[in-house]
């Protein structure tokens, strides 16, 4: 049950933490771009990127805001890389109840990176002339029908549980209600 293969452009920001100089221009310009009207103000606390910065430990991690998490993680792990200890949250993209990052400072609403829609490249990339942030675009072959396959797996397990007839009836009822 394989779907049709298609080429798709994937945008990736390559984060070279070794090149980060900790200046936070990315945070500044992100918040300026997303101000309303555009560039009318800036406020790094509103940025959708954040540089986790501990200069004396030489820790510099630019991290982007992703999907909000409803709950905080059960445990907090520590990573040790090259002798430097990182909090697990340092790498996490989620606005979540355990921290203030990636939330509007006044309303608390979650923020998410949108790659600066409408611009040639995300502005954090443009402003990072030390090249810690570099935009890479690559073509990838994706299976368009992948979701169909997932759906079939899901329905099969429902049919196992409830019987196929019940599923057919339910689908018929749902489509009738939609049309009606």
């Amino acid at each position: 049950m394989s779907g049709e293969k298609k080429m798709k452009i994937i945008k990736t920001i390559k984060i070279d933490a070794d090149k980060c100089n900790g200046c936070r221009a990315c945070e500044m310009i992100c918040s300026a771009f997303h101000a309303m009207p555009k560039y009318s103000s800036n406020n790094p606390a509103r940025a959708r990127i954040r540089v986790v910065r501990h200069p004396l430990e030489d820790i510099y991690v630019p991290v982007y805001a992703g999907e909000a998490a409803g709950a905080e993680c059960a445990g907090r792990d520590k990573y040790v890389i090259d002798g430097k200890q990182y909090d697990e949250c340092a790498f996490c993209r989620a606005p979540c109840p355990s921290r203030d990052d990636f939330k509007e400072p006044d309303s608390g609403l979650p923020l998410k990176c949108d790659m600066c829609e409408g611009e040639d490249e995300p502005l954090c990339v443009k402003w990072c002339i030390t090249d810690a942030l570099v935009l890479e675009e690559r073509e990838e072959e994706v299976e368009e029908e992948a979701t169909q396959e997932e759906l079939a797996i899901g329905l099969e397990s429902l049919a196992d549980k409830h019987g196929l007839q019940k599923i057919i009836d339910a689908v018929a009822r749902m489509s009738k209600a939609k049309k009606g």
Partner: protein
């Protein structure tokens, strides 16, 4: 609504523990811009000359520049102003780092401290919440250590902390305020902070900072960023490495130190080592720097990486800035490994890296010449480098001879007597200078040394090449894209400037041309200091991204203040004159406007007199260096001329000695 600035200052009375948020007058911004400009006005209004540096009535002002916190690249400087205990004049030392933008985001342009706290405290500013907190547990802690401890106890890793170390607590006259990868070092402002009982100021802000005309402002910012990239890819040919690029300069990046080590003086600014730099040393120093330098780092919103995190073996990591890389090394006739190591201790103690090494070398010179004896140095180690560490410890604790040395070479020599004054040879207005001794008088530098009220050559020089280029083709190439000049005549001055012959120093540039050149150089520094711009992207390097032609547009579109080149020039002249007025009121006169006697071997008294006369006149000052009534009134500073008249300052012929009491002694009486 206010743009670029917040329109509010924090006024903190430490004696009473009172905190107020005070709205500022937008008219003042128009007249004095911000940062240094408005600081000079506040000092004029509120700190009359009767107020001693260690009086509760002295103010300590932490100001963000007008454009700090806006997207303008490199605009991140905090301008700290007070009356210096060492010079007893107005000090306006500055620091980069992250503090000033954070203060803006918290909703304030300045923090103005007055009075004295009975106990050691620190201030915690988080948006609307401002607290004076106990700092008893931080007493004696290092400046960097203090910042870490405060962030931990507040659970605010993103707070920015400006702190003093032991030197500030003990009111060492050249104590610094340390912050991020930067420090405000000159003029002993850290001593005033210690005297006020303030260990640190921590800030965290989460507010918006507004821009008046966003699209136009961003277009200017993008131009600057593109130009920085262009300059990074196209260094200026034919000049020494640190002058070829942008930055403040990028000392932590540069390995080739031939120019500094062979042209600057070693020890107590005495010995020039003309053939010092060789392959072996170059390799050894490169290995030292590469092994200790963890990363090149920047201040807020700046790509220039002028600083570095340094991890000396067996010592904690610290952040080094600029020329402190070499000052300890050269004062001690040692190597880079020693210099980078002792600078770690010096950063934690919080001391100025120009004055401190020089004071220590001065003390050892007095010892070698029998003016100070073994009795003055009980327990001092025998080895050269150990002695520097030992002296540093005594100075910051004000123990024994350290108590005398803690006042700097000028005051220490006075107190020691026995001819010690001849050894305190490298000061201007009682303040230690860069260790430079040269041969032939340079008329441009003569004026800058004599009249620069920041009393530091790097804080007035810049833009105009330090020396003529050998070949005409090189000069023509250089002036081709020299868009930064305020007037085309500067190109001609440079084209005609020769290494030898009629049109060479000291008689060329002529006094009139020197006035133009120095005035332009100084003006750009003063504009930077009001806007909060780093000199490394503006007034210091050759062909910088910010200049007199685009600055007015930045101010107009950023702060929404109607501005053009003339108006900006006039504003800079206004608060520059006000800085001088503050110092004139404190007794500064022509006799104080002079470089160290031995700065040049070949001096030209008549030419020097002509230079100073011409420059004073050009500036609108009388022959004592006092701004005339006419020039003050023209700048709208009639309140200054009125005050001068009331105090009888215009009838001063310059013979009255200015007050010669050390702030420390005065205090103990």
């Amino acid at each position: 609504m206010r743009y670029a600035e917040t329109g509010y200052n924090l006024e903190i009375d430490l004696t009473r523990g009172n905190i107020e948020r005070v709205a500022t007058d937008p008219k003042e911004t128009e007249l004095y811009l911000g940062g240094l400009g408005t600081n000079a006005k506040i000092i004029w209004d509120r700190v009359p000359p009767e107020v001693d540096p260690f009086s509760p009535d002295n103010l300590l002002i932490f100001a963000s520049g007008l454009l700090c916190g806006t997207p303008a690249t490199g605009c991140n400087r905090t301008i700290v102003s007070t009356i210096s205990p060492q010079t007893r004049l107005m000090a306006f030392s500055m620091m980069g780092g992250f503090w000033a933008p954070e203060l803006k985001y918290a909703g304030y342009d300045k923090v103005i401290l007055r009075g004295k706290s009975p106990d050691l405290v620190y201030l915690w500013i988080k948006d609307d919440k401002v607290e004076i907190r106990d700092a008893a547990h931080l007493k004696g802690k290092g400046a960097v250590e203090t910042a870490t401890l405060i962030c931990q106890e507040l659970k605010e890793p993103k707070a920015q902390v400006a702190a003093i170390g032991l030197a500030g607590e003990n009111r060492v006259y050249y104590a610094s305020i340390e912050q991020g990868r930067s420090s405000a070092s000159r003029g002993g402002i850290g001593a005033v902070m210690g005297d006020k009982g303030v260990k640190a100021i921590a800030v965290r802000g989460t507010r918006d900072l507004n821009i008046a005309r966003p699209a136009e402002f961003m277009a200017l910012c993008n131009e600057v960023l593109d130009y920085i990239k262009f300059r990074n890819d196209n260094p200026i040919p034919g000049v020494m490495p640190i002058l070829a690029g942008l930055g403040s300069p990028q000392e932590m990046k540069v390995h080739d130190e031939k120019w500094h080590t062979e042209n600057f003086m070693w020890g107590n600014s005495r010995v020039r080592r003309k053939d010092f730099w060789n392959e072996e040393i170059a390799t050894a120093w490169m290995e030292t720097l590469d092994s200790m330098r963890t990363r090149l780092i920047s201040c807020y919103n700046c790509p220039m990486t002028c600083g570095a995190t340094i991890s000396p073996p067996g010592k904690p990591t610290y952040m080094m800035k600029c020329f402190s890389k070499l000052t300890y090394t050269m004062a001690a006739f040692s190597d880079l490994e020693f210099g980078l190591g002792i600078a770690q201790s010096a950063t934690e103690y919080g001391v100025d890296a120009f004055s401190t090494p020089q004071v220590m070398a001065f003390a050892l010179e007095l010892y070698e010449n029998g003016i100070l004896t073994d009795d003055d140095f009980p327990g001092m180690p025998a080895d050269n480098e150990g002695r520097f560490y030992w002296l540093l410890d005594r100075i910051v604790r004000r123990e024994g001879i350290g108590d005398v040395l803690a006042n700097g070479t000028y005051w220490a020599a006075k107190e020691i007597g026995k001819g010690a004054e001849a050894y305190a040879h490298n000061t201007i207005k009682k303040h230690e200078q860069l260790p430079l001794k040269l041969s032939m008088l340079n008329p441009i530098y003569f004026l800058m040394y004599a009249t620069g009220e920041k009393m530091n050559i790097t804080q007035i020089e810049g833009q105009f090449p330090q020396a003529p280029f050998l070949k005409m083709e090189q000069r023509e190439e250089f002036v081709k894209d020299w868009i930064q000049v305020p007037d085309e005549k500067f190109k001609q001055y440079f084209l005609d400037w020769e290494l030898r012959g009629e049109k060479s120093i000291p008689y060329y540039p002529t006094p009139e041309m020197c006035c133009d050149i120095v005035d332009w150089q100084e003006r750009m520094h003063y504009i930077d200091d009001a806007l909060g711009m780093c000199a490394g992207l503006s007034s210091f390097p050759l062909k910088p991204p910010y200049h007199i032609h685009n600055y007015p547009k930045f101010i107009a579109t950023g702060a929404g203040i109607d501005m053009d080149e003339d108006k900006l020039t006039q504003a800079a002249k206004r608060y520059r004159t006000l800085v001088r007025a503050n110092n004139i009121r404190r007794g500064m006169r022509r006799k104080d406007d002079k470089p160290p006697k031995n700065h040049w071997k070949k001096r030209f008294p008549e030419l020097e007199k002509e230079l100073l006369d011409t420059y004073y006149q050009f500036k609108g000052w009388n022959d004592q260096g006092i701004p005339t009534k006419e020039s003050l009134d023209e700048l709208g500073l009639d309140y200054v001329s009125t005050d001068f008249e009331k105090r009888g300052i215009y009838s001063d012929d310059g013979d009255t000695p200015s007050k010669e009491t050390s702030a420390e002694k005065k205090k103990e009486v």
